[in-house]
Structures are given as C-alpha cells and as structure tokens.
C-alpha cells in the first residue's frame, strides 16, 4: 500500500511515496506471529517473563476481547504502568480495537494525571496499584471513568488457552493509535495525536535505516509512556521481527552493561544524559554484541559522544525528531564508518526536512533557521488545540521550534531551541507549566523559569519569583508548594526570590512586558560564575536526577 493513496494531511505528504506493508498494528503483529510464531518477541528480566511472537499476539487478542466487553471501539484508554507485559498487552489490545491509547507517566503528580485523563476524554484507565495512594481521590472522584488496577488484567499476560480472534473492527491506517502528552507552552501538557500510519511509517523508516532484522535484540531502558520507548525500541524492533528486552528505566542505569551482555543486546536507545551518567559514575562494562546506541532527545555534546565511544568502543547514532514526528526523522548514517560526528545526520527516506527563516522561507545550506518536517510519520495534530495546531502545522510542514542548519552534503546540525523549552534528562518542560503553579501561591506576584546547565541532565530548572509586597515566604515553602502539583522532574531545583536580590529587584521585561528569559539566563550565568555569590545560587550540579 502506498501511503499517498490515503487521505493524508498536507504536512504528511512527503516528496517520495512510502510503501507500507501493513495497515495497522494488528496486521503488523499478526504478520510477525504468522511468520515466526516461536521466535522470541519480549523479555522482561525483572519478572523473568518471556513471550514469543505467537504468545504475545494471542494475549493481545485476549486483551482486545477483554476491552471490547468493557469499552467502546474508538474510545480512549489511559495506561499508567511502567514497562510491563500488561502495558503492551493493553496497548495492543486497545489499538487492535481502534481505541486510542494515552500512555501516562506514573511519576506525574495527581493534578497532572487528572488533567490528562480529562483532556484526552479517557473512558478507561489502567493503573498500577502501587499508585493507589496518589490516585485514590481520582478513582473516587471521576465517576464517569472506569479505573482498573493492574490486577484486573494480570491474567491476560499468563500462559492460557482460549485466545479467539473475533470481532475486531476494521482499523484504517489514519485512525489515531495514541495521544502522547508533552509539555505545553500554555502551562498545560499538550496531546500529540499519532495514527497507526505514523507509528508504522516511523518504525519502518528506522528499522530499514539500521537494518533491523530477526537477529536484532533491543534493550529498552526508556519508558514506554514516552514515544522513544514505544516507537524506537518497541515498534521499530517489531517491524524488523527482532526481540526486545524491557527493564524498568529507573532501575537500569547501574546495570546497563550487565543487561547489554547478559541479554546479548545489539541495539539500545538512550538520552544523552544516560551516556553522561554512565561516564560520570564510572560504570565499566563490555559492549558484547552491541552494534550501536541510538541517541537523541536533547543536545548531545560532541565531546561526550567522543569520550563514550573512546571508552566503550560502541558507535553512537545521533538523530533528530520530536513527538510530533512520532520520534526520529533523521539519523546519522549506519554503519558507523559512514557517520559524520557532531551531525544529527540525514533525513530518513520516509520524510522531508528543511530549514526556514522567520518568514517561513527556506534558507540556503549552511544558514541557521527553524527545522521543519513533513511526511507520513508527522502527527495528525494536537488534541483539542486548533490554534496551536494551525500554527505549528502550517504551509504543509510541521514547524519544530528547533534551530539548526543543513550542510551542502545533506547533513543536519541541531543547535538548540527557538523558544524557552527546558530539556532535562530528555524530559521536555515549558517554563509556563511551572510558572502556572507558582502563580497560584498567595505570596507570589509573578515568576519566570529558566533552564540552566547541568553536567549530567543537560539542564536543571531554576525559578525566579517576585513576591507580593509584605509577603515573607521562603524558598523552601515555595519548593514544597510546587511539589504538590508538579511531577518531581518538573520541580525547580532552586527558586530565587528576587525581592532579596540587590541587583535585580524586578523580572526583566521587554517593551511589550514579555519576560526576557535570555536576560535571566545571562544573569544566572554571571551569578553562578561568581564564587562569592551571596544568594548561594551555585548548587551541586547533577546531585539529583530525573527518573
């Protein structure tokens, strides 16, 4: 099937037509199960559970039947699990039925989870009972939503008979498969709507780029609730017919090399912060069969890549993409000797990319501008955000907000963000999310949040708060206040009360009263560099981390 025969949106039409062998996730998993029923598909080392393609296809059908008896086809299902067999069984079961899956980070604060469930129109929510204390009030307070603890579906992942393939609806390639929530400029997370076609095209593009095959063994140490885990590790490996070793991302860092060698991993996908942490903590190990490490999600310093490669002898393949492009749209060349280090590589055959100026005009090679992407891997759009969608998906291209350039040889270079997005350990956080929370504190008149350099995480979060006249709150009190509404990785490391600064009594603003974040970053840099800093702004970088 050529995707150009489908009703594509303007920003999904690339210059080259893409031939797609499968129309949806069901066709893909079924084809792999038919092709090699006994071949290993999934390994979960923590619980010592392993599934062949046939086994997991059948239990996905069982999940589809279970869901079909409890929720409408086309409804939305939220999954608040870590990397478990149940996550994937519910994921496949739901998308087999044409339902839309919303993977939710279990570490989000209760108000954030509530927002996502409500905003996505979640009809069914699956959650880990270990989160009962946090989710209890939601379960009791959202009567129109069916909440299911993991125990309700645990039986689906046990070896059992009686898997019946019946009554699955026809699912078009352009049907939404998932809504992935990412940080939003308005202060609330925004949902990126991805279709079956988006997942399959992006998975195919990467699988073909890296020559994934039944011999490929992916080590998945990133969470399935992010597109990297769900697309790069899972969908791409599934497309190649390989196997995936899934571990809990929060527990895997120290065991990284042991997992690589014990499970004979040939590929893994990481954030630059993971490479930095492995180096900084001195975790030694042998690469075994590891052919490469896929890396992106934040700026990868060339020196970090070089140091890592020199120490462990494993090539790093840097790429560029975004949730709105399902995951990656370009990559450094495979095999390793064709790479151009420091570049995020060349565009995948599934996409087109270009660099534009502030008037949306394409710039010449070598000139910096905003990177734009189009192709069948580009999302349908944003959930319930028509204005933002019209702005970011305009003139037939997705405008990424990322700055970079293309060289004459077609290699792209990523330089940074056009806006003030903070990228901490791969997690993207807009200042507005934190400013929104701080503005609700009775003592805070206004606030501004910036990202500051961190040796391991790439960036940490620093907030500046202006207190109302007469207010006497402390930094500790404000940090505690943030902790009630924000996931830990979004909480500022420091909150500087600017009323107490001698040289910056007000937040810096431009003529239109817009906060000048660049001035705040400069100010932070100057204060941080000052060893006699009276406010003690300098903290021990990297002493705490994002999960």
């Amino acid at each position: 099937m050529n995707v150009n025969t489908l009703p594509l949106l303007p920003h999904q039409q690339a210059s080259r037509g893409v031939e797609l062998r499968y129309r949806n996730f069901h066709e893909l998993l079924k084809a792999k199960a038919d092709e090699a029923p006994a071949r290993e598909f999934l390994v979960f080392p923590e619980s010592d559970r392993r599934y062949s393609y046939r086994e997991f296809y059948e239990l996905s059908l069982a999940a589809a039947e279970w869901l079909g008896a409890r929720a409408k086809n086309g409804s939305t299902t939220c999954i608040i699990f870590r990397n478990t067999p149940e996550f994937l069984a519910i994921f496949f079961g739901a998308v087999f039925r044409g339902m839309t899956v919303v993977p939710v980070n279990p570490d989000l604060a209760a108000p954030e989870i509530r927002f996502i469930v409500e905003n996505s129109d979640g009809a069914t929510v699956f959650y880990d009972p270990e989160l009962e204390a946090k989710l209890g009030p939601l379960v009791g307070g959202m009567k129109h939503v069916a909440f299911h603890p993991l125990g309700d579906v645990a039986h689906l992942t046990q070896a059992d008979a009686g898997r019946i393939e019946s009554g699955l609806p026809e699912v078009d390639p352009t049907t939404p498969a998932a809504i992935i929530y990412t940080s939003g400029t308005t202060g609330y997370p925004k949902g990126v709507v991805l279709s079956h076609m988006n997942f399959l095209v992006d998975g195919m593009g990467m699988a073909e780029w890296f020559h994934f095959s039944p011999e490929t063994r992916s080590l998945c140490i990133l969470p399935l609730f992010h597109n990297n885990g769900l697309v790069v590790s899972m969908t791409t490996t599934l497309w190649g017919g390989g196997s995936i070793v899934m571990v809990d991302p929060k527990a895997s860092l120290r065991s990284f090399w042991a997992l690589v060698t014990r499970y004979h991993a040939t590929f893994t996908s990481v954030m630059p912060s993971i490479l930095a942490a492995i180096l900084a903590m001195g975790f030694d190990g042998r690469p075994g069969l590891l052919e490469g490490i896929i890396c992106g999600g934040q700026l990868l310093p060339l020196s970090l890549a070089q140091k890592f490669e020199a120490r462990f002898g494993v090539p790093i393949f840097e790429g560029f993409g975004s949730t709105e492009a399902t995951s990656y749209s370009c990559f450094n060349a495979f095999p390793a000797d064709k790479r151009k280090l420091g570049s995020v590589g060349q565009v995948l055959p599934i996409s087109d990319m270009k660099v534009v100026d502030e008037n949306d005009l394409e710039v010449a090679d070598g000139v910096e501008g905003e990177i734009c992407i189009r192709g069948a891997n580009v999302a349908i759009g944003y959930h319930k955000l028509p204005e933002l969608e019209a702005h970011r998906f305009r003139h037939g291209w997705y405008h990424s907000g990322d700055f970079g350039l293309r060289e004459k040889d077609g290699h792209y270079y990523f330089r940074g963000r056009r806006d003030d997005l903070i990228v901490k350990g791969g997690e993207k956080i807009y200042p507005a999310e934190i400013e929104n929370v701080l503005s609700k504190h009775a003592s805070v008149a206004e606030s501004a949040v910036i990202g500051v350099e961190d040796a391991i995480l790439g960036q940490e979060i620093c907030a500046f708060a202006k207190l109302r006249e007469g207010a006497t709150t402390s930094e500790a009190e404000l940090l505690k206040f943030c902790a009630q509404s924000l996931a830990r990785f979004k909480q500022p490391k420091r909150i500087v009360i600017i009323n107490r600064l001698g040289d910056m009594p007000e937040l810096p603003k431009g003529p239109t009263k817009k906060i000048l974040y660049r001035v705040l970053r400069d100010y932070y840099g100057r204060r941080l560099a000052n060893s006699e800093d009276p406010e003690g702004l300098k903290w021990v970088l990297g002493s705490q981390g994002a999960g």
Partner: protein
C-alpha cells in the same frame, strides 16, 4: 541479622539518600518519585559502603522496592557469614 533488624539499619540511609519521610516495606520505586535513576545508584552505593558488600549489576535492576532490596541484602549478608 533479621530482616526486621536490617530495615532498622537500611531505613535511615534510604531516608537520607532518597529524601523521603520514611522507608518501610510499603515503599516501592514505582510509588516514590524521589527514588529515581540517579538516586537508585546513590542508594545502592551507600548500602555497599554500609555493609561492605558489592551489589551485583546483574541484580541491581531488580531491587525496585524496599522489600526486594532488604531481602536481597539479607540473603547477601547471610552468605557472607
């Protein structure tokens, strides 16, 4: 050392490293956002120093709850005697 005695030894270390109010058998990595990837590494290192043991990298990723961690330490220390 019994499991209960081990909890008494491990809890103050875990409370300090993870910056959480208490560390008992109900605490899991999943339910504790403070127990993240870097603090997991720090916690295991602190426990290695405390008990003069080496926690195997083959096991470290499985120690995702207070109960699993303390049981692992119990077995390891028993084997050391």
């Amino acid at each position: 050392m019994t499991v209960q005695e081990l909890y008494a030894e491990v809890s103050p270390i875990a409370v300090e490293v993870l910056q959480i109010p208490h560390f008992d058998s109900s605490v899991t990595m999943n339910s504790t956002p403070e127990w993240d990837s870097l603090s997991h590494v720090q916690l295991l290192s602190a426990l290695e120093r405390k008990f003069s043991i080496e926690i195997s990298a083959d096991e470290a990723f499985k120690l995702t709850s207070a109960e699993k961690l303390v049981r692992y330490l119990h077995e390891t220390l028993k084997g050391k005697q």
